[in-house]
Symmetry: C2
Subunit: 248 residues, 2 copies
């Protein structure tokens, strides 16, 4: 267990309708593992005020960090900032620094009502700067509010990650084998029961192009400094069962 | 609103660690929209017994259909079937039909302990057949338990969809434009406020390869039979603002 935990709330009807394949949470997940922050849960919810408020408050109490993506653009369907303000009984108003950044970014006369909306957020929010398209995200309590467009979200996330407390990266080891996972099930269970400080996952795959099948065995731990002896035991078991193994 | 609702619970540490980009929920989401079933929420949770039970019971009460993916394989980390059994105080035991299917599928002497585990499920479950690799999913109450491997999950989902109650597909219309969304924000808000029976979403994109930017405006409705007049209003607004539009 890492003492630092996280939850992600993805806000967007376009994910729930299947229109958009969500990828932001995968990007964030990878960064968190490397940063020693344990991602515990991802929720994908509708563009609905009450739903957003409820989930924000629930995650706020439950996790060290809460990241939201989506719903902070200029149009009527972007309701994340207003909802987060309500969740914490904060005034939803123009943030002077955000207003200034956006005013300077747009050509004179083009800082219209929609664009101004992107400067509105909870009164006591701190900005997350956006190096691509200016419109900032924000931080309030332990909530980090990010946009939905992946290219922009990624740049902003990498920036904010530099400024938050991190832990020791999770140790992860992946062993690939040509054996079926059912053949290894008993052996893997025994190894898992022997080493309770690590978690052993077994992930079969079927490659329809080159017709190969196999299993990736993933050993991971927040506490152990060394996974070598677990690696050796798994490799030995695979060999005994007549299989091949390699480190991925 | 569709009277038929759904929630998806994705069970898998490999998603939360960022190892795997989750795609099953996007496949299911697309199928549900076409089937007149409104997907309200997706949760991605850990391979943890209590977490699975809690989410199953919550979704069971909240949605018409609940789909789970992942955690029904042969290894120790596959705990979905056992957890779902516990959630409903059902005995977790061999399902005679599932046992028979698997016994016949594997060569003599190869129906080992791990493979037998895939025949264990809640006592009163009904099977979801698996045309690819035999190991079935199952239905208990309104919970549909599916595997995590996308190719297998997809075949099984398409099969089960034939046997459940469906509604009228959601009407969806997508208008692409070269305008910035901030320019259209006021106009779109007015149109949205005029037609409360539809939902208008605005999705900007940045294509870093051909350097194009634009917005997709998505109009969707569960109730309206015809979106033509809304399409006309949006196209007229785009034209007035000096933009181009096309139906995607």
């Amino acid at each position: 267990m890492s003492k630092l935990t996280a939850g992600i709330i993805v806000i967007g009807d376009e994910i729930l309708s299947g229109r958009t394949q969500e990828t932001n949470s995968n990007f964030i997940a990878k960064q968190l593992v490397q940063s020693g922050i344990m991602l515990v849960e991802i929720r994908i919810v509708e563009d609905n005020r009450d739903t957003i408020i409820q989930n924000i408050l629930h995650f706020h109490k439950k996790y060290t960090y809460v990241f939201t993506t989506g719903g902070i653009g200029p149009t009527h369907d972007d309701i994340t900032s207003e909802s987060v303000s309500s969740a914490f009984n904060e005034k939803y108003c123009f943030h002077p620094q955000a207003f200034k950044i956006l005013e300077e970014y747009y050509p004179k006369g083009e800082f219209n009502e929609g664009r101004q909306k992107m400067a509105k957020m909870p009164e006591n929010a701190k900005l997350i700067l956006n190096p691509l398209t200016a419109a900032p995200g924000f931080i309030i309590k332990n909530i980090y509010v990010l946009p939905g467009v992946p290219e922009i979200m990624q740049k902003m996330f990498v920036n904010l990650l530099q400024n938050i407390e991190k832990g020791s990266p999770k140790k992860i080891l992946t062993i690939n084998t040509n054996l079926y996972e059912s053949i290894m099930a008993t052996g893997l269970t025994a190894i898992q029961n022997k080493y309770l400080d690590c978690s052993i996952g077994s992930y079969p795959y079927f490659n329809y192009i080159d017709k190969t099948t196999g299993v990736n065995i993933v050993v991971s731990s927040w506490n152990l400094n060394n996974l070598d002896y677990i690696e050796e035991e798994i490799k030995k078991m695979i060999l005994l069962l007549g299989g091949k193994s390699s480190i991925v």
